[in-house]
């Protein structure tokens, strides 16, 4: 029928999630924040985006194999 939209969504979110997670690991992301300088947002948000992308991609692959 065409392109399953979950493929590009999944790929984009896993890539961005990985990039953010890496940024959170290798840079000091908490220093610039003025509100809560203890939470590493890049790490948390990178992990969330990666999880969402993986779910999308996974469900797209499962849908294709059905």
């Amino acid at each position: 029928m065409g392109l399953d939209i979950r493929f590009p969504i999944g790929m984009m979110f896993t890539l961005i999630g990985l990039l953010l997670f890496g940024t959170g690991l290798f840079t000091d992301a908490t220093a610039a924040l003025r509100i809560t300088p203890t939470i590493n947002v890049n790490l948390i948000w990178g992990a969330c985006l990666f999880l969402f992308g993986a779910l999308m991609w996974g469900s797209a692959i499962l849908g294709k194999n059905k």
């Binding site: 940024t23 840079t27 509100i35 947002v41």
Partner: protein
């Protein structure tokens, strides 16, 4: 000191986003601006070229001519929107100017659409005159009212200062209500006074009362009515919590 409400998103992003997330937030903002602009520019040049230019101004021309017209009007539309941006900078936030424009244009349009969809006696003349009088009523209301702290001029009140409202948004909503009521009543009045041009057969499918009901086999929880009632209930609860 005047609060700059348009700066809320930028200051939120500056405050809460470190270097990685900042890039993502700015990318998302730019992407939404671009897609909104692209959609509106496309709609503008399509409506102009097909529904106005080709239909009324220059029918029966070649495809290249209409293609050229579409390109020209795209440039004109973008220049107009740049001018509108300068005009909108006179208001403290974008929501005020948007609601003002909607009150002028959308409020009478809504009345016309409602009557056209649910009343088979509505006529074309009635709708047209109703729409014009609704927009004229908005202009009249706008020229006679003002909100606190504003000078008469582009914000209203240039003919008389009959009513001073507490805020810009209050003026917008009263404006919209007034325009809607005027358009509604005038459309009904003129429709009843003119002859019907379309029979019931021609209106089947366009007016709610003349369309045959569709029977669809769906489970009760998947039907649009059920989902609609649930969503309305959630909306009421959220309004109660955040009032």
């Amino acid at each position: 000191m005047v609060n700059d409400y348009d700066g809320v998103i930028l200051s939120l992003v500056k405050r809460y986003c470190p270097t990685g997330l900042l890039g993502l937030a700015l990318t998302a903002l730019l992407a939404s601006f671009m897609s909104g602009m692209a959609g509106n520019v496309t709609a503008f040049n399509t409506v102009w070229t097909y529904d106005l230019y080709q239909a009324y101004i220059a029918p029966d021309k070649s495809d290249e001519h209409y293609s050229w017209m579409g390109r020209v009007i795209t440039v004109v539309g973008i220049v107009l929107s740049i001018g509108a941006a300068y005009f909108a900078s006179m208001w403290t936030n974008a929501m005020d100017i948007i609601q003002l424009v909607f009150a002028f244009v959308n409020a009478p349009l809504f009345a016309t659409f409602l009557l056209g969809m649910f009343w088979s006696r509505a006529t074309g003349t009635g709708a047209f005159i109703g729409l014009i009088s609704g927009t004229a009523a908005s202009a009249l209301f706008h020229s006679c009212t003002l909100s606190e702290g504003n000078l008469p001029g582009v914000k209203g009140g240039y003919l008389a200062k009959l009513w001073v409202l507490p805020s810009d948004m209050a003026q917008n909503f009263w404006l919209a209500s007034f325009a809607f009521i005027v358009c509604f009543l005038v459309t009904i009045g003129v429709s009843l006074a003119t002859r019907r041009t379309k029979s019931d057969e021609e209106l089947k499918g366009l007016v709610y009362s003349l369309t045959p009901r569709q029977t669809v086999d769906q489970a009760w929880y998947a039907r649009p009515e059920t989902i609609g009632i649930v969503l309305l209930g959630i909306c009421v609860i959220l309004n109660y919590i955040f009032w």
